[in-house]
């Protein structure tokens, strides 16, 4: 393929994509050019397919056949971001936002909206897009999207996830063409440095500098690696990029290959992401077929190809030296640095490694320039960050906002606040390496440095919201269980430190905590931070230290009063039936596995706390909220 052929494909499919990106009136005019009266975009990301979006597509195809509809295009896309409302379906040119679709709903929409002369089925739209006066707004104008700025996720939910033609039409590979024919490797590096792009995987290392070190390293063979081992539980932005726009990662890796002098790349991806792996493999095949990977790319003389390696469920493999050991087929254990991977990486060759979201930022910087990019964000954190919003929040999903956006904007304006009228207690960022941001810092401007200042970190961008029902000691214990389980065991501070910390937290949660435990935790944490081999051990104490700092009262309540204020830690609670609420329906007694509940029909029941195993079955079954933990 030549650059001209690349541009032809882009031009040919451009209107198809534009219909999905511009305002309704213009889109309606433009749609005429595409040959399709309407386009139906259905999310084919992991979240929506888990709630059966593929069946929605099947039903649409079936209905189209029955109704003789042949001028409406069905597009299976990547993630739209608003996973809480899945399966999501958008109809263009109107931008009509159908949420929580079922095959039956799809049938209705096909019959009433997608047929010639049809109109939007308002009852099935996401309620946030229908005004009281009955007018409908396009999905891009709802608060969830209005506050976002999508750079890394620019094509997710816009293009067909398995179509290289649509990816090219949306701009993929044009940055590669520009780099190969118009820029020197040094110019690429200065552009990235001027843009101020920092690694999105957690540490925030300047990407341009990383590439420069690898470029300057001596060696004939060099490698480019992509870290798609997104291990932070609750973070799924890398997966969404791979599912929605895999070509942008391949393109950026090829750009890096040209820049540092590498001809081969590896993508290390979690095996838990079957859809991402499949789309990645499809994308690689397509790119090879089109001559965008392989020998003599775009006739430039530059060769580059990419291999996929699957992880096998080891969190530590997100650490760069462990990841490289795993690519080589060994146990994924980290090693001391130096030597750094820029000099001695995969197969002991100079290697540049970036995570998926970082790769996704490369092409826009090349195309739009460092000046454009560096105007977004804060002084030291440029561009945007994708957060995976989860936990006790309405709009669970992926959001991409300029660096420096306040936590308040993310939680309330974009996230829609906390369900059930509960109070915001904390937001956890940085996963098992990060910490909790308490309510008093809700106005914090989220960027790399501010988060570190208050004892948390950006990490890969998991943002789990917790309400008043969450026990912070229990959350710290949850993370320590994770790191103790995932510690590879190679270095002593991490192997033994995580274990001892977990034992101490277990003790506190069981009501056996002693005042000196807090001091012990601090001491172990200090040792782990200063002497662990890799970031896993160095940062494993963060969840405890940050909760101890911001929620010290809860630790004290567990230790001195033997109470769990949030009502979570089982050993510190008993279950009771409130007599005025109990109707004597017997449902709790019949479902109690320990036969701990006594009482006859239509009379108040009672729980024998000595027999109760605190399994929560009674609460789950009670229809009158008559059972309390205290």
């Amino acid at each position: 393929m030549t650059v001209k052929e690349l541009k032809d494909i882009a031009a040919k499919n451009a209107d198809l994509i534009k219909v999905r990106q511009i305002v309704r009136e213009q889109a309606e005019k433009l749609a005429v050019n595409t040959g399709y009266r309407k386009q139906v975009l259905v999310c084919g990301g992991t979240g929506c397919t888990s709630s059966h979006s593929l069946q929605v597509i099947e039903q649409l195809e079936k209905s189209f056949k029955e109704l003789g509809i042949d001028d409406v295009l069905i597009v299976k896309t990547g993630c739209f971001g608003l996973c809480a409302l899945g399966p999501i379906m958008i109809v263009y040119p109107e931008g009509a936002f159908y949420s929580q679709m079922t095959p039956e709903h799809a049938k209705t929409v096909a019959e009433k909206h997608l047929v010639k002369g049809g109109s939007i089925v308002k009852e099935l739209l996401y309620e946030g897009t229908v005004h009281e006066d009955g007018s409908v707004i396009p999905f891009a104008e709802i608060p969830f999207y209005k506050h976002q700025l999508r750079i890394a996720l620019r094509n997710c939910g816009v293009i067909a996830a398995e179509s290289i033609e649509e990816a090219i039409a949306a701009g993929d590979y044009s940055a590669l063409a520009k780099v190969l024919f118009e820029m020197s490797p040094d110019e690429v590096i200065s552009e990235l440095k001027a843009a101020g792009l920092r690694g999105r995987g957690g540490a925030g290392f300047p990407t341009g500098l990383k590439w420069q070190f690898t470029r300057e390293a001596k060696g004939d063979i060099k490698y480019v690696c992509c870290n798609a081992d997104e291990g932070d539980p609750g973070a799924f932005m890398d997966r969404s990029v791979l599912e929605g726009d895999p070509h942008c990662v391949l393109e950026a890796m090829a750009i890096a290959g040209y820049t540092v002098g590498a001809q081969e790349g590896y993508i290390y991806v979690r095996a838990e992401y079957p859809i991402a792996v499949e789309r990645l493999n499809i994308a690689i095949e397509q790119a090879r077929k089109y001559g965008l990977l392989g020998k003599n790319i775009l006739g430039s003389g530059f060769d580059f190809d990419v291999h996929v390696r699957l992880g096998a469920g080891a969190f530590v493999c997100g650490e760069e030296t462990a990841l490289m050991a795993s690519i080589e087929g060994h146990r994924g254990e980290p090693r001391p640095r130096p030597p750094f991977s820029a000099q001695c990486g995969v197969f002991r060759k100079p290697t540049v490694l970036n995570n998926v979201e970082t790769w996704a930022n490369v092409a826009p910087i090349i195309l739009k320039g460092s000046e454009w990019f560096s105007e977004i964000g804060t002084e030291k954190s440029k561009g945007t960050k994708v957060f995976a919003l989860g936990g006790k929040i309405h709009n669970v999903g992926l959001v991409e906002v300029p660096m420096g956006t306040t936590l308040k904007t993310i939680v309330y304006d974009i996230g829609g606040g906390i369900p059930g009228g509960k109070a915001f207690k904390a937001a956890q960022t940085g996963g098992p390496s990060g910490g909790c941001i308490p309510a008093k810092y809700i106005d914090i401007e989220m960027d790399f440095d501010n988060l570190v200042k208050i004892g948390s970190m950006m990490g890969s961008g998991g943002l789990i919201v917790m309400d008043e029902d969450t026990c912070m000691v229990d959350i710290a214990k949850f993370y320590l269980e994770f790191t103790a389980d995932e510690s590879c065991g190679k270095c002593t501070p991490c192997r033994i430190g995580t274990k001892r910390l977990l034992e101490t937290l277990d003790k506190i949660c069981e009501g056996k905590g002693e005042p000196e435990d807090l001091e012990k935790i601090r001491e172990i944490a200090e040792h782990m931070k200063s002497s662990s081999l890799c970031a896993l051990g160095q940062s494993a104490p963060n969840p405890i230290l940050s909760t101890m700092e911001h929620f010290g009262d809860e630790y004290k309540a567990h230790i001195y009063e033997k109470k769990c204020p949030a009502g979570v830690c089982k050993s510190l609670l008993n279950y009771y039936i409130e007599p005025d609420k109990c109707r004597g329906c017997t449902l709790c007694a019949r479902n109690c596995p320990a036969n701990a509940i006594s009482g006859v029909v239509k009379s108040v029941h009672d729980i024998d706390t000595s027999k109760c195993i605190k399994c929560g079955q009674c609460i789950a079954h009670c229809k009158f909220n008559a059972i309390v933990k205290k």
Binding site: S50, G234, A235, R239, R309, A312, H330, I464
Partner: protein
């Protein structure tokens, strides 16, 4: 290693050899070979590890070291229906530990084990990325979301009856 009696078929062995031959000259071939071997056999019995070690020219200790390092490799067979409960953070704060307890209670085995009739095995996993549906449970690839402990019995019944 494994206490289970190993019963491999000739078809499985030839599939394993095809996979080994495809990766034989590749750098870092051990992981992809183990992954495919587990797909073929459902687990990695000592006998299979020995074949892989001999064929790839690495020590059995190396193979065993890798097979036991990664949580996705298993040295014991799994149940006919594989149940996986997400204990990722988003699911955990929405009570997935209670879902796990309910499943354990219902099947009378603990997480990581297989029922005596080999019908079910329970494992926990860390985030499948369906956080919008939290808490989630996956049975044989089918995702069940927005669960409460009371939903568990009804879902398992479908599999018990089949």
């Amino acid at each position: 290693m494994s206490q289970n009696l190993f019963e491999g078929t000739a078809e499985q062995m030839s599939a394993l050899m095809v996979c080994i031959n495809a990766h034989r000259n590749e750098k870092g071939a051990l992981m992809p070979v183990l992954q495919e071997a587990q797909n073929i056999y459902g687990y990695l019995p000592a006998e299979v590890q020995t074949v892989i070690a001999e064929e790839l020219g690495v020590s059995l200790a190396e193979v065993y070291g890798v097979a036991t390092f990664y949580s996705q490799f298993t040295l014991t067979p799994k149940g006919k229906h594989k149940i996986s409960i997400c204990l990722g953070t988003a699911c955990y704060v929405k009570g997935s530990d209670k879902i796990l307890e309910a499943v354990e209670h219902e099947l009378r085995i603990s997480c990581g084990n297989c029922t005596p009739d080999k019908k079910f095995s329970i494992d926990s996993c860390r985030c499948v990325g369906a956080c919008g549906l939290a808490p989630v449970m996956i049975i044989d690839g089918e995702v069940y979301g927005r669960l409460s402990p009371a939903d568990v019995k009804g879902i398992l019944d479908k599999y018990i009856q089949d």
